[in-house]
């Protein structure tokens, strides 16, 4: 027994000593305690919990189609993660649940009618090229789910484009027509605000109900799993630009509300843009990121050939995030003004 062990042995209280091993003392740098409630896995589970209202609405509305997309994407994401991590010879990282979150977000952002291989391919591309190539969880530059979705959106324009939303057979009437944003863009038709809020409309399976997204998003903000700055600044920017267009066009507020509640805006603002890995670190940076995303969403919606722009807006802002981080290095307490 070493000197140290003998000391520690003799330091034990007499009643504990007979026949028992001395306590195992180890040393480590401070701090010696940590917040046991915080954990990466816990954060990811929170996100899934936050997504659950949107999942429930999608299951209610699209039934089998929603279930199919979710299962395909989650299973494909997990398989892809397993495969790529094995290929790199790294330790298994499925435990942190981040692949499940990517899968669920990807699944919720697919049109219900897309065939299974579209979702599967999106998952493999998202996890492989979007995440693992950069070094795995925490290292990626772009939101993996959006990388996968952008890939299939371009590769399978027919199956993912505006047309894909219109040929769902066997669904309720409300969800077999054009999506609200394409209806507005291409036919000039407004969908009522109440259906948009409740989700009785067409679109990607998870984005249809603004109400469900807001509910889940507020839970995540309450849990401090996502920051409030990003959704708030996106929504304010979108509202501002939509309001200006609204006033210019004399829509009497309908245009503004339509842009706020239709399409993937709520889903994107609360669940996609807030991905911590690909958004800035500081509060100021998050505001800038959100404002930029909001502007890009409205630019794409108003001026491009696509009816919806959340995906591309988030991907473009992901690319700018390192730059925003460099712009927003905070001044430490007591830093002399330069």
């Amino acid at each position: 027994m070493s000197d140290t062990n003998r000391q520690i042995d003799s330091a034990m209280s007499p009643e504990n000593r007979p026949g028992r091993k001395p306590p195992f003392i180890h040393v480590a740098p401070s701090p010696h305690i940590s917040d046991s409630r915080a954990g990466t896995q816990r954060m990811m589970l929170d996100v899934i919990l936050g997504l659950s209202p949107a999942i429930l609405v999608s299951l209610y509305l699209f039934r089998f189609y929603a279930l199919k997309q979710l299962i395909v994407c989650v299973v494909a994401c997990l398989a892809a993660e397993y495969l790529f991590v094995r290929m790199r010879g790294k330790s298994f990282t499925l435990k942190d649940c981040s692949a499940i979150v990517t899968g669920v977000i990807l699944g919720l952002s697919m049109p219900g009618s897309a065939p299974w291989f579209v979702g599967a391919l999106a998952s493999v591309v998202g996890i492989g090229i979007g995440k693992i190539i950069f070094g795995g969880v925490g290292m990626n530059i772009f939101n993996p789910a959006m990388v996968g979705r952008a890939f299939v959106m371009i590769a399978f324009a027919q199956l993912m484009g505006a047309g894909a939303y219109e040929n769902l057979t066997g669904l309720v009437d409300a969800v077999s027509g054009a999506t609200p944003l394409s209806a507005l863009k291409f036919n000039g038709v407004h969908t009522g605000i109440a259906p948009l809020f409740m989700g009785v409309t067409n679109g990607s399976i998870g984005e249809v109900s603004a109400g469900a997204c807001i509910l889940g998003g507020l839970y995540l903000i309450y849990r401090k799993t996502v920051s409030w700055q990003i959704p708030a600044s996106i929504l304010i920017t979108v509202a501002l630009i939509a309001a200006i267009t609204d006033i210019a066009g004399g829509y009497q507020g309908l245009f503004l509300l339509h842009h706020l509640f239709a399409g993937a805006l709520m889903f994107g603002a609360f669940f996609i843009a807030t991905d911590p890995v690909t958004s800035p670190l500081t509060a100021k940076g998050k505001m800038m990121f959100g404002a930029g995303t909001g502007c890009l969403i409205m630019v794409i919606r108003l001026f491009s050939g696509y009816p919806e722009g959340v995906m591309f807006a988030v991907l473009i802002m992901n690319a700018i995030t390192p730059l925003i981080n460099r712009w927003t290095i905070p001044q430490p307490l007591g830093q002399r003004e330069v």
């Binding site: 007499p14 504990n16 180890h26 701090p31 010696h32 305690i33 958004s279 830093q335």
Partner: protein, 457 residues
């Protein structure tokens, strides 16, 4: 909490960011200070303070009496050392302090008649410190400073900065406010709290004397609002004196000098500067009690109150111990370790040093001993940083800890410098909240070393 009170001060009573760890003070908060009997030997390392080691002035074999100077602090930033027991000087030994320093140490073996330690503690608790109601006008400021210097008093909150340096009057650096730090924001530690409850008069007397030395216009004693009893006792003691009691919001690290000044006065101490650069002097409550005793009773610094707490110790206690007593004796006095003890820490769990060598002595700056069990200790299963930004929201210095830590991990001192790595006070807030359980503080310490080496190229 309703107690929060900060009338007439420009600060907000708190500071941005910070954390609320469970304080676990209940383990020892109601344990009145117990007096440890005179140990058979004491070991006195020659460097127990920040600065230059003191010079040994006794030889091996010499007999020393209680309070006799055994080491002289010759440099300005140094502190003298005094015998806490009467006895015979033995051969010098090398000791390893919990902070990892190997130091030459004077060893004294008890011999002859000892002053009972109970009497020394009674002296500290003496309630008539404040008898001269005219704020000690018959003490000359320079005499007070000299006395503090010769008594070897250092900051007892942890950093052990020589107190006379702080209170030395200086024409170029005027001190407006003396802040007495009674925040004790580290979890588990309760020694300052017990002293505030049991000897508030000594603290107020010391504060008045130190305030007189620096000619401070205001003397404020700051306590967090989770210590209502201490606040009440101090308010009673400070009645009819110029010292004011200020109640601050409870948050870690409120006891940090920079954050205390920010919370009370709204001022920011410049990076790399001292509180004096903001016209403030900050000192711990226990330091003030020691100052009172050394000036009024002419007794040097020989004893201090420490708390021994945590679930890894059988009987958590607050004890009055002589400087130099071995930590093994302290642990024995508190009933020993429990079988599930996992980590022994000098200081509190947020900033304390963990160690395993119980033969190390109690030093002047040691505020306590915390023994954690396996369940309480931070587990080190590290995962990847997902840049969630919780460390950014927690950092009281307004830094980006994850950036600093990763810059250090990939040996990029330039990036670390851009992100102001030197401003880090190593309070541990970031590592406490990190969901990936990264050793942020350790990485940042490494990053500071890398930056220094890189700049010296």
């Amino acid at each position: 909490m309703g107690l929060f009170k900060l009338k007439g001060f420009p600060g907000s009573g708190s500071f941005p960011h910070g954390i609320h760890p469970p304080d676990n003070k209940a383990l020892s908060v109601n344990m009145a200070v117990e007096v440890m009997e005179t140990p058979r030997t004491v070991t006195l390392p020659l460097l127990q303070h920040l600065g230059v080691p003191c010079k040994q002035i006794v030889k091996s074999g010499e007999t020393v009496s209680y309070g006799q100077m055994v080491g002289k602090g010759e440099a300005f930033v140094s502190a003298s050392l005094h015998a806490p027991i009467a006895g015979k000087v033995k051969r010098n030994t090398m000791v390893t302090l919990p902070n990892g320093r190997h130091l030459d140490a004077i060893t004294i073996q008890a011999e002859g008649e000892q002053i009972p330690p109970e009497r020394i503690w009674e002296e500290v608790k003496f309630t008539e410190w404040l008898r001269p109601m005219d704020s000690f006008s018959d003490y000359e400021p320079m005499d007070i400073v000299k006395k503090i210097q010769s008594s070897g008093i250092v900051g007892l909150g942890g950093a052990a900065f020589p107190t006379h340096v702080k209170v030395m009057p200086n024409d170029t650096r005027v001190i407006d406010t003396l802040i007495v730090n009674g925040c004790e924001c580290e979890p588990y530690l309760t020694c300052d709290y017990r002293l505030m409850v049991e000897a508030p008069e000594a603290i107020v007397a010391g504060a008045l004397l130190a305030g007189r030395a620096v000619s401070a216009r205001e003397i404020v004693i700051c306590v967090e609002d989770n210590k209502p009893e201490a606040i009440r006792r101090l308010q009673d003691a400070a009645r009819q004196t110029v010292a004011q009691i200020v109640v601050l919001k409870t948050k870690y690290p409120q006891g940090s000098e920079k954050h205390l000044v920010k919370a009370v006065l709204g001022l920011e101490i410049p990076l790399g500067g001292l509180p004096a650069d903001a016209a403030v002097a900050v000192s711990n409550v226990q330091t003030m009690a020691t100052v009172a005793r050394s000036i009024i009773n002419d007794i040097p610094m020989t004893h201090r109150v420490i708390s021994v707490s945590g679930r890894g110790i059988c009987n958590p206690k607050n004890i009055f111990v002589p400087i130099g007593v071995s930590l093994a004796e302290v642990v024995d006095f508190c009933g020993g370790l429990t079988p599930d003890a996992a980590r022994i820490i000098s200081g509190g769990p947020m900033m304390g040093f963990s160690f395993s060598d119980l033969s190390a002595p109690v030093t002047k700056g040691a505020s306590g001993l915390t023994v954690l069990t396996h369940e309480e200790v931070r587990r080190a299963e590290e995962t990847h940083c997902v840049r969630c930004g919780r460390c950014v929201d927690a950092c009281p210095m307004n830094l980006v800890p994850t950036r600093l830590a990763l810059a250090a991990r990939y040996n990029n001192p330039e990036l670390a410098g851009q992100y102001h790595i030197r401003a880090c006070v190593e309070c541990g807030c970031c590592a406490y909240v990190c969901p990936a359980k990264l050793n942020l503080v350790q990485l940042i310490r490494a990053g500071k070393v890398q930056l220094n080496a890189w700049e010296r190229r």
